[in-house]
Symmetry: C2
């Protein structure tokens, strides 16, 4: 079962124009209390938006799909229905483990979204100063990532890496080259 969700969880960047209400967001956020954290410090905080106007403002701070250089991100009718902003509370911790905590949170958010029939994309290319101002984020909270969420409206296919890991688009399909398992596994000691 988990296998299906993990495989279904692709990085979607084009969405159907549906609303996500905040009770759905609550189902995702509720799980974040139960995830592991380095030294149990729990330095992450979260902002969720399912408000159309705020979503447009958040959208204006994001850069999409670095490898698709001729594409500025989803058109107005294909934009995300919700966002989760992941923040690092610097009063709690001040080391790089927070980036691993963020990965744990990201995978949890995206897997739960997939289970709910949603999908999304993690974005790191953010105008952080602008976003902090839009969302009134205190200076001691650092923006790490934004997760864009919605109902996926694109086809994504995994292909084997040939020369390059850059994802690309062809005939309206988004292709993602993934390394083979044998490349990822350095050794199995039986």
């Amino acid at each position: 079962m988990l296998d299906e969700i993990i495989k279904k969880n692709r990085s979607y960047r084009r969405f159907a124009p549906v609303n996500i209400d905040c009770s759905t967001m609550g189902k995702i956020l509720a799980l974040l209390r139960y995830i592991p954290s380095a030294r149990n410090a729990q330095p992450l905080k979260y902002i969720a938006s399912c408000n159309k106007e705020t979503n447009e403002k958040i959208f204006s701070t994001l850069k999409w799909a670095g490898y698709l250089t001729d594409w500025d991100g989803p058109s107005p009718t294909q934009r995300p229905s919700a966002y989760i902003v992941i923040l690092h509370d610097k009063n709690i911790s001040n080391d790089n483990y927070v980036l691993t905590d963020a990965g744990i949170a990201l995978q949890t958010i995206l897997l739960k979204s997939a289970e709910l029939g949603l999908g999304g994309c993690t974005i790191a290319a953010i105008d952080k100063q602008k976003l902090a101002s839009i969302l009134n984020i205190r200076g001691d909270l650092e923006i790490l990532y934004v997760v864009a969420l919605g109902k996926p409206a694109e086809t994504i296919e995994i292909v084997d890496v040939k020369n390059d890991i850059k994802y690309y688009r062809k005939n309206d399909i988004h292709y993602v080259p993934k390394r083979s398992l044998s490349e990822l596994i350095y050794a199995i000691i039986e």
Copy 2:
């Protein structure tokens, strides 16, 4: 369903003396091809061990449970049955995003383990030089984390944070203080 797995996934450090065969490890590792990676770089590599002798050698390089200062880690009859070592291939990437990729991998490994009735613990306090020598790890692969896996043999309970996030042990129960959801959520914009 996913909620149950996420809640079941605690950091276990005492295990029943059962074998984990490498086909079980294969079920976990197979999923790591399908997880997100920053810029799709996929710089992580993995070593799995389910060999008793190698496991003992890996054990000798690990420091357990920083907050349990009077405990040196599980006794010989309560040790992990398997390990997954997470490596950063520095030929592929050279930035901190790899730590977020590692978090994504860790949560994936631990959730799949929980689904299989196993459990484990991520360890960052590693004698990396010694471990690299034991496992013949090339110098261009940096050890990031070790995940210890086994059949959990301890009771873990989540409690609300009062003054301190340090986990503690009392009457053979391991207590983990978790921050409240209201502390984690900075804002929900409806």
